[in-house]
Amino acid sequence: MLRYAMGRLGVAVLVVLVVSVIVFGLTHIAADPARAMAGENATAADVEAIRKAEGFDRPLPVQYLEWIARAASGDFGRSYLMKEPAVELVVHRLPITLSLGVMALAFAVALAIPLGVAAAVRQNSLVDRFALALAVLGQALPNFWFALVLIVVFGVWLQWLPTSGSETWEHLVLPAVALGYYATPALMRLTRTGMLEALGSDYVRTARAKGLLTPSVLFKHALRNAVIPVVSLAAVQFGFMLGGSIVIEAVFSLHGVGYLAWESIQRSDLPVIQAIVLMIALFYVVLTFLADLLNGWLDPRLRVAVA
């Protein structure tokens, strides 16, 4: 297990390093940091002065090494516009995005697992067909449009829930639904497949033959096995949600990390963009690493296969 964990950890660290090169490269090739820092009204001389002063005229690899060394100690530089450390800006906004992500994932799981189990237990029944139809329709629904529809229906017509801002948990309900439903089809399908497989397997048949009641077999034996891949998919989906919340945060004016990213991108605030992309990537890598560990712990066969 330790060897397996170390192997996974090595890959994770390497992934983060490569991502950091990509993030740095993209922001420095796609934009001119000196110009972005100088602002829109700067003269060419101003830009050149900043380029010299900040060392943007040095070779890119040198700049990268300096940047990554600082980033490793948590210093991504200061925002060009807000003059605050980029990391502080992100950390300040993180709670909103994290609570949004957690609520969205909770919504997705709460919908996906019961539906997936029901669809598998009653395969090809009305429930099953309904679940599959829901999955197909859900996957085609653009999330920002669904968010607008939610605003119109629950905010404007029914006036049940607030549609912008982030003061109370109620402000997060509609955004969480808009963000979470998109993960539901994949989670539901995986639960259904896993349950079908588990229900057809020998140990479930044995359990049934031993005279165990159906609910007990269903939840203690079948679901426990079916849920393993669902857990790692959920971890991955959580990572995607943090990255994808930008659209939802923009629609609902939630001032989380996504909103910050949107603002920073519009203003070419490179340090903040770099910090956000790298932190989300790091978060995703940590999540998948933990999911790998969990899987390796639950299923010893994996340890041999990958290590």
């Binding site: 890959v11 390497l14 992934v15 983060v16 490569v18 991502v19 990509i22 993209l26 922001t27 796609a30 934009a31 197909v136 329709l137 996957q139 085609a140 629904l141 653009p142 999330n143 920002f144 449009w145 607008l148 529809v149 605003i151 119109v152 404007v156 259904r192 497949t193 079908l196 991955v236 990572g239 995607f240 943090l242 990255g243 994808g244 930008i246 659209v247 923009a250 629609v251 996504g258 990213a261 949107w262 991108i265 519009q266 070419s268 963009i273 956000i276 992309v277 989300i280 990537a281 995703y284 890598v285 998948t288």
Partner: protein, 306 residues
């Protein structure tokens, strides 16, 4: 044998080949046929946009701003609504129907081109990883993991915004970001095909590796490839719409559906239909592509249906 057959019927053919069988299944598959039909309609609409669209999508008139769609005449007795602008006009007085029709061109062009680029990158990587295994497999696997840890919307948004958005940049960025699923699926399919007898036989008689990959393996992994292609095309279309909606994708006055939604967002309290229409258009297009993909999977690999 012959007596059992009604006279005049075609003589019993040899057992139908897999292609004939797949075609028969396809014709009986409701989802596939619906998806293909709707997609064909949208495609025709996009190609014939100048002929189909009743007005110019770019010229508006301030005198004809915010005309409601035709059903407002039936439901709410709106005096402004009429057949001249069946789906109404936007806040600049441009015909909504014509903009929707021209918008399908943007979605389809971006969807297809991004899918082709990502398909090329992903399936090449997957083919190599699945065929050679070992070190190559490990490297490709690493690429996929790295790609997955980059948040797509954020990176696409940043690159498109920083380089200045154009259709070409948009297509390239999406193409370079959406290849992961191609690689994963291709790798698995190639591994399977590699263990088949005829591949081993071709290898044994000394066929070159490129020949083996392109002539023996590739044709046998095309089916899953088609399914992934539909998924990624739908993905690219949704992403373009999202980027344009955030104001950092397709530029105005282009009639991108995402951009139309961004403009309609200002009217959310007054003209709900303006939000409804481009969203429904996107939904129908993506749904038809997904139905086509799901159907293709059912038809070509019925054993994987669950």
């Amino acid at each position: 044998m012959t007596a059992a057959q009604p006279t005049g019927a075609a003589p019993a053919p040899v057992a139908p080949g897999p292609r004939t069988l797949a075609w028969r299944r396809a014709r009986g598959h409701l989802g596939l046929m619906t998806g293909a039909g709707v997609l064909a309609l949208i495609l025709a609409m996009a190609l014939l946009a100048p002929l189909v669209a009743p007005h110019d999508p770019y010229t508006g008139s301030l005198a004809r701003r915010r005309i409601p769609p035709i059903w407002h005449a039936w439901l709410y007795d709106s005096p402004k609504a009429g057949w001249t602008y069946p789906l109404g006009t936007d806040r600049l007085g441009r015909d909504y129907l014509s903009r929707l029709i021209y918008g399908s061109r943007i979605s389809l062009v971006i969807g297809v081109s991004a899918m082709l680029i990502s398909g090329f990158i992903g399936s090449t990587l997957g083919l190599l990883a699945g065929y050679f295994g070992g070190k190559v497999d490990m490297i490709v696997n690493f690429f996929v993991t790295t790609r997955l840890s980059l948040p797509v919307v954020l990176v696409a948004l940043a690159v498109v915004a920083l380089t200045g958005s154009s259709l070409l940049v948009l297509v390239l960025v999406l193409g370079l970001l959406l290849w992961d699923r191609f690689a994963v699926v291709m790798r698995a399919a190639t591994q399977q095909a590699r263990s088949l007898d005829y591949v081993a036989a071709a290898e044994a008689i000394g066929c070159s590796t490129p020949y083996l990959l392109l002539r023996e393996v590739l044709p046998n992994v095309l089916n899953p490839l088609i399914v992934v292609a539909t998924i990624e095309m739908a993905n690219a279309i949704l992403l373009e719409a999202a980027l344009s909606f955030l104001g950092l994708g397709v530029r105005p006055p282009q009639p991108s559906w995402g951009l139309m939604l961004a403009e309609a967002k200002e009217e959310i309290f007054f003209n709900t239909w303006m939000i409804a229409l481009p969203g429904i258009a996107l939904f129908v297009l993506v749904l038809s592509i997904n139905l086509l993909g799901d159907g293709a999977r059912d038809v070509t690999a019925p054993e994987n249906r669950n």
